[in-house]
Symmetry: C2
Subunit: 352 residues, 2 copies
């Protein structure tokens, strides 16, 4: 089972075969009987090559199995057609979904994605990842980490490299793209209020998270605007388990008839706690999530939640980054609206 494990310790291998495909432009040129510049022209699709020559070159290329060496090309042109993504937590649905969208958009635009995972969302880790990434050949960097440490003042990214931060602080001097956390929390809260609930309890995400903070703030503000009382939220860590623990505390409290959870997973945990305690959802208590994960529709009961458009988020992120790479000035904020998805976990306030 761990037949290779030993080698993981070594930082790279010493004895190494050279690049497997050492067919150069020169080789192609020799075979085709032209100069390597002509091969370069064909390779780059330039027009000033006679059709007959082009075909000779193409034939030689495929015969030899030529593929351009991107390192040489990048060295020469100064551009890499490669975008770095720094991520913490490849297990969170939203991040992965956003990564997926960024990657698809990047591929469509002719860019590859270099992934740089960080073990923890600390300043040191991110700075380190950033440095490794700028040593890798990237034209720009996307930071997919939502945490307060990404305050512009906290983390020192070497200037000059185009950066877009997803899901972070509004006051950043970087370019920021984000889902409309405020809107989403407002939609959830007002949906519950409109159903007749006198107040809405909140199971919040971790305090270090920007988006969790924004959702909690907006929930509180919405409640205040409607003149209803605001109870201190319970804080989770996005996990099902933490939602379950929160649900266990909430279930015995009959005066609580509506809960807004900062993500779908914690909502799932709350649902489980309600089932165990015997409180019916939505007859006795309504639950709303946030994210619209694909599983939500399969929860029991199917979960009412706030849909984040991660695809759009990813697209916009890449677009903003390409702008930066194209020479645009950093800064500015792009906000993607959210949407209420009404399923069966919410209902009218119970008659006492």
């Amino acid at each position: 089972m761990n037949k290779y494990n030993d080698d993981l310790a070594e930082p790279g291998f010493k004895t190494v075969t050279k690049r497997s495909n050492p067919v150069s432009q020169q080789d192609v040129a020799n075979l085709a009987g032209v100069s390597k510049q002509t091969v370069s022209r064909v390779s780059n699709g330039l027009t000033n090559v006679e059709e007959a020559t082009r075909e000779k070159v193409l034939a030689a290329m495929s015969q030899l199995g030529y593929r351009p060496n991107s390192a040489a090309r990048a060295l020469r042109s100064g551009r890499f057609h490669n975008i770095g993504v720094i991520m913490f937590n490849l297990s969170e649905y939203g991040n992965v979904k956003t990564l997926d969208a960024v990657a698809s958009a990047a591929t469509a635009a002719g860019y590859a994605i270099t992934l740089m995972p960080v073990a923890s969302a600390t300043e040191k880790e991110v700075t380190g990842a950033f440095n490794r990434l700028s040593e890798q050949a990237v034209d720009g960097i996307v930071i997919l980490i939502e945490a307060h440490m990404l305050d512009a003042s906290d983390v020192h990214l070497p200037p000059g490299v185009p950066v877009v931060i997803v899901d972070s602080n509004a006051d950043s001097t970087y370019t920021v793209v984000d889902a409309d956390q405020e809107l989403g929390a407002r939609q959830a809260t007002e949906h519950l209020l409109a159903l007749g609930h006198t107040s809405v309890f909140h199971v919040a995400g971790p305090k270090e998270s920007f988006s969790a903070g924004h959702r909690a703030d907006s929930w509180r503000r919405t409640l205040q605007e409607h003149g209803t009382e605001v109870a201190e939220p319970l804080y989770g860590d996005w996990s099902v388990e933490s939602g379950y623990r929160a649900g266990l505390q909430l279930a015995p409290l009959n005066e609580i008839t509506a809960v807004f959870c900062a993500n779908d997973q914690m909502a799932l945990g709350v649902l489980r706690a309600m089932h165990e305690f015997g409180r019916k959802v939505p007859e006795s208590i309504s639950v709303v999530g946030f994210d619209d994960t694909p599983d939500g529709a399969g929860y029991w009961p199917p979960l009412t939640t706030i849909r984040q458009d991660f695809s759009e988020l990813g697209k916009q992120t890449l677009a903003a980054l390409l702008h930066l790479i194209g020479g645009a000035k950093p800064g500015g904020r792009t906000i993607i609206p959210t949407q209420l998805v009404e399923r069966s976990s919410t209902g009218p306030v119970p008659r006492p």
Copy 2:
């Protein structure tokens, strides 16, 4: 909202700022008053540099904000310290989890990860991704696509580039790393049989999937070995929705008291169908999943499932690839064992 959208259409930008950090070894050398070769030595941590010189160079480096140009380094050394990953479906838990593990192990070994998503698991797409990847500077490639099209005969990967295929066919001429699908399906089936169920129904994954096929085969074989009857399985597509549809068909059949689902999500769908129909789990019917997704413990009831060790899978994949890069011959299969996780969705056969 789509302030940048127009630009996504263009394949790359025309007007482009040059690499933002044009500090070369030569610049550092000038400032430090040494040759650039010495800078190179310091940069690569070689020992034959006097301490005083090293410090001068280091000081010059940080003053200038020098970072090595990996393109030049790669061009020179023929190695990129970069591994390509071809993936379909960044939304499937197992794939993402494996990617995460591969990425972490790669980072630890000094390699970056280049992600190459494919829109569909067709031969054409994978071959295309493979080609784009070998133009990008990668030392080796991991293919994270489980589908029959990845038969060695079906897809033609240019030879020479080290490749490891995860979760694919045993007969491949490539190096293959896989979870022990057979063992997992056997564990699930025997767990149910041991509980006294006379037979076990199967909700299978899509027919194109290797792992789905392996799980179904092993389930069937286990049943046959125990001399119990085997009903034709229902086929889903891994989604909650497809599990729900299968569950709707199964719920009215009282003779079915045990269901083994090929993944957790379809099990979730089955659970929902049982709730709707009013069949109690596990009192009236037992359900087992496959994967051990983090949400499973929050399902109602908490899901008994088969745990795949995706972290180990990812680690072994990277290790195998590094071996290949180091010059090892391709071929061979590494199998990671699975494990039964017993929670509350399974119980003894109901008394009629």
